[in-house]
């Protein structure tokens, strides 16, 4: 039995997909890493990982990890990976410029975005990665205007060596991508979908089910952009209708027929676009 890198007894919610994702990450990467950032739900994660960890507050995206990577380079240490984990709020809102700058400079770090689609730790407030129509405490009628920012594509446009989307419901795909990224030099961006029972309002034993449906409905496509070439890594032959995914979550309760149709149409369009790009160089 392998000694857990991430000790049990942490304060994350029961059924937290972030915790599942973090375990997958740590078990893949091993102990020879330096962990930067707060992890999902700010520091709840890193607080229990028995690896050297360093965190600046929530807004400290990217640059701190770049400093660590630079110090390791200055010291001639080559075998230690710098792993940065930040939430969607830190990455898409308060730290967006910092993330972009890190990518542009090509700092040698592995950046994970633990995307639970809102500022969960402070009480489920909306973020730039909250999907259209979702209830949050600051969008009580559902997010009316504004779609979810397509962060993986934005990061791909920075011409970084590796971008990938990950889901804890597909652990083999997950660990393959993490291992692959660990072997690449430069700025790697891995966007992890993290269903949140507390914030998305579903029963906490359904975490993996929700994550699986997200991929099967096409809402969360699993792909990677490796040296600019896009490849869909989890082919979904017959996409399930989005209602299968939406109906499990209390945060979409206020959506009617029309809204569900809107979401279905946009997912259909996005999937078609992605299919067209499959196997092609996009940047």
């Amino acid at each position: 039995m392998q000694e857990e890198i991430r000790l049990p007894g942490h304060v994350l919610c029961p059924g937290c997909a972030g915790a599942i994702a973090e375990r997958l990450i740590f078990n893949t990467l091993g102990r020879n890493i330096i962990l930067f950032g707060g992890g999902v739900c700010a520091s709840g994660g890193a607080a229990n990982a028995t690896v050297p960890s360093f965190s600046l507050h929530f807004s400290g995206v990217g640059a701190g990890a770049a400093g660590i990577a630079a110090a390791l380079e200055a010291k001639g240490v080559k075998d230690v990976t710098v792993v940065a984990m930040n939430g969607d709020g830190a990455i898409s809102d308060i730290g967006f410029s910092k993330l972009s700058a890190c990518a542009e400079r090509g700092d040698n770090i592995m950046q994970f975005c633990m995307d639970n689609e809102a500022y969960m730790n402070t009480g489920i407030q909306r973020s730039g990665l909250t999907p259209w129509g979702a209830w949050t405490t600051t969008t009580p009628k559902g997010k009316q205007v504004g779609r979810k920012k397509d962060l993986p594509m934005i990061m791909a446009s920075h011409n970084i060596p590796y971008v990938a989307t990950l889901s804890p419901a597909y652990p083999k795909d997950f660990t393959t991508k993490v291992s692959k990224a660990a072997g690449i030099e430069g700025f790697k961006y891995l966007h992890v979908m993290v269903p949140c029972p507390t914030g998305w309002r579903f029963s906490f034993d359904k975490t993996i089910e929700v994550a699986r449906l997200a991929v099967q409905t096409g809402i969360w496509p699993l792909y990677e952009v490796d040296q600019g070439v896009l490849r869909i890594t989890q082919v979904v032959k017959e996409r399930k209708p989005v209602i299968e995914y939406l109906k499990l979550q209390g945060r979409f309760r206020q959506l009617g027929e029309k809204e569900t149709q809107t979401i279905q149409v946009s997912v259909d369009e996005a999937s078609a676009r992605l299919q067209q790009m499959d196997g092609k160089r996009i940047y």
Binding site: P52, A63, A66, L72, A101
Partner: protein, 405 residues
């Protein structure tokens, strides 16, 4: 052999950083610091300084880079001014709390609004609460010396607190003087490689400690540790200055330098470039037989309480020249208020006048200093101050005098 070069403040600081062999630099340009950032980029590009220069996207990122780099075992450096300092303020509380010996140069510039590209000390003095050690430099020579000393102080295992060395923007940063640049070998002997005893991001040295108490429960204890470190810094600063004097031939008297204070009835206390001008005025006034002295406050944090008390016991009046303001304060700028507290326990207290001079970049000319000295001497004579706080150089002030030097 030490070389001599005509350098302005910014370039002197760059040479200092080169000599200490800084390894990770995260600097964002801001007037009046840009030449410092540029010169360091040149040193790194030419290979004279083997460091990683990270062209950060903001000052917030600059200090983040320094925090990460320092924790991971590298010697770091950054520099900023005014708006940049305020932009990185969040980090300026995190870094001392994490006990990282980051060294930062603050090229003093007033904070907007009202703002200016020119100097006052509010940007560096704003950090007086968070645990950074602060030193003020009078001229370019002192800058290169302070830079080297700063690392030695910050990395001392009794201290482990980040350190600021500040100098006035434009007045010092952009005016040149012949500067003696110490020899690299001597600096290497004076300043050993950086190795933190307690904070290190190294998987090989890592050992987890399981606790059932969250960090927040022991926060006050961490602050107690930091205050002890500030107290230790008092003796470390003096030690380092003395050692520096022995090695390089230049010593600055520790946290405070007393200039012509023997048998002085009144003294002016100055920080930064005003000191240089004040020396000239004090010499002139002494030639006229006036019992005036000058105290150069070199270190603001930790505040030199004992030294100020010793001065307070021996003079009748102190005039503190504050190139800063704390709006709505109990009376005077930051320096005046701190000095008042330092002197509070004396059996016999001198008169204390707070002077606001040079705010938002207003020039402080010899005439202003003479005026302040006269006012302080008068207070020494009469035993009380007509006004507790005086504004120097304001337009429409009847008594302000601009003299041709």
């Amino acid at each position: 052999m030490a070389t001599k070069k005509l350098l302005d403040g910014n370039h002197a600081a760059a040479y200092g950083v080169k000599l200490v062999r800084a390894e990770v630099l995260g600097i964002y340009p801001i007037t009046p610091q840009t030449e410092l950032a540029n010169q360091l980029a040149d040193f790194v590009a030419s290979g004279e300084l083997k460091a990683k220069y990270i062209t950060v996207e903001s000052e917030h990122a600059a200090m983040s880079v320094c925090a990460g780099g320092s924790a991971a075992g590298a010697r770091v450096f950054t520099a900023s001014s005014s708006q940049g300092i305020v932009f990185m303020e969040e980090l300026l509380w995190q870094v001392p709390g994490m006990r990282l010996p980051v060294v930062m140069a603050i090229v003093n510039r007033s904070i907007a609004f009202p703002g200016s590209l020119r100097t006052d000390h509010n940007d560096s003095l704003l950090q007086r609460d968070n645990g950074w050690i602060q030193m003020y430099c009078e001229n370019a020579q002192e800058i290169i010396d302070a830079c080297i000393q700063a690392y030695k102080i910050a990395e001392d295992s009794r201290v482990y607190l980040p350190t600021i060395f500040a100098y006035d923007g434009y007045v010092i940063s952009h005016t040149a003087m012949p500067v003696e640049i110490p020899d690299q070998e001597d600096v290497d002997a004076f300043l050993p490689p950086y190795r933190h005893e307690y904070v290190y991001l190294d998987p090989k040295r890592y050992k987890p400690v399981i606790t059932h108490e969250p960090h927040s429960e022991v926060g006050m204890e961490y602050r107690f540790q930091m205050e002890e470190a500030q107290n230790n810094a008092r003796s470390v600063i003096e030690e380092v200055d003395r050692e520096y004097g022995k090695m390089f031939g230049r010593s600055y008297g520790g946290p405070v330098e007393k200039y012509r204070c023997e048998d002085a009835e009144a003294v002016l206390v100055t920080m930064g470039s005003i000191t240089g001008t004040a020396r000239v005025v004090v010499d002139e006034m002494r030639r006229e037989g006036k019992p005036i002295g000058l105290v150069k406050l070199r270190v603001f944090r930790p505040f030199p309480v004992e030294e100020m008390q010793e001065i307070g016991r021996n003079v009748r009046a102190i005039g503190f020249v504050d190139r800063n303001i704390s709006h709505g304060s109990a009376g005077g700028g930051v320096g005046t208020v701190e000095t008042a507290r330092a002197l509070y326990t004396l059996d016999e207290r001198p008169v204390l006048i707070g002077f606001y001079a040079g705010l938002v970049g207003k020039d402080v000319v010899p005439g202003d200093i003479r005026y302040m000295a006269e006012r302080t001497l008068k207070a020494a004579e009469t035993g009380k101050a007509e006004r507790q706080v005086e504004w120097i150089g304001l337009r429409k002030q009847a008594e302000s005098v601009q003299v041709k030097v």
